[in-house]
């Protein structure tokens, strides 16, 4: 069973700042997903990356899959209060899919 470690666990920043959160593992994944969970809601998929080195952009969010497909990062440019939430990564291989413990992001106005 692969273990996904997300860092930092908590992050509190001011509106307009940039940030990067990480998802790391010793296992190789066939794909990796990022979800955002807002308070009182279920997680919602942001992106799926499948190719080593792949970079995907979603407005101010940039997702990168590591070359070795063991890790991923999420970079947010000019964060806004609406970005506040729990960011979860989920890694998949042929037999399993597991979620990380998440990074709780708070963006203060």
């Amino acid at each position: 069973t692969q273990l996904l470690e997300q860092s930092p666990q908590f992050l509190s920043i001011q509106e307009g700042e940039n940030l990067t959160v990480y998802c790391n593992s010793s296992s190789v994944f066939s794909s990796l997903q990022w979800y955002r969970q807002e308070p009182g809601e279920g997680p919602v998929l942001l992106v799926t990356v499948v190719t080593g080195g792949e970079v995907k952009k979603l407005k101010r969010l940039t997702f990168q899959f590591g070359d070795a497909r063991k890790d991923s990062s999420l970079h947010i440019t000019a964060a806004q209060p609406g970005d506040t939430g729990l960011y979860l990564c989920a890694g998949t291989n042929n037999n399993d899919m597991r979620f990380g413990a998440g990074t709780r992001l708070t963006v203060k106005p």
């Binding site: 794909s31 809601e41 979860l88 998949t92 042929n94 413990a101 998440g102």
Partner: protein, 114 residues
């Protein structure tokens, strides 16, 4: 229209009681799940059903019994509730059983055992 709906959203009950959480999806998906999210926000799969058949059963106490009357419904029944069962339970669905599909989550059911 809500894609994955679960009821109740909030449930407070005493230790030892039996309770059920219902889930329905209108996405036409073949696969449904129950996840548990603890106080530290760690999301862990409990069960997965594909076309009414159980395909994943993680190490979950047998007090938890899922039931899938059809592929659009997956209900969770919990017997003899314990304090440690307090958590948020998420129902979810995906197009099929293959890992890596997008998982669509319900809004969660907040269970508090007192």
């Amino acid at each position: 229209d809500t894609a994955v709906s679960q009821t109740p959203k909030y449930l407070v009950t005493q230790m030892g009681n039996d309770k059920s959480i219902k889930c329905e999806q209108n996405l036409g998906h073949d696969t449904m799940y129950w996840y548990k999210q603890d106080s530290k926000k760690f999301l862990k799969i409990m069960f997965s059903y594909n076309n009414k058949e159980l395909i994943i059963n993680e190490t979950v106490p047998n007090r938890f019994s899922p039931k899938s009357p059809d592929k659009a419904h997956l209900n969770l029944h919990i017997n003899s509730l314990e304090l440690g069962d307090s958590a948020v339970y998420f129902c979810a669905s995906s197009p099929d059983w293959r890992f890596g599909n997008t998982i669509y989550f319900g809004e969660g059911s907040w269970l508090t055992v007192v």
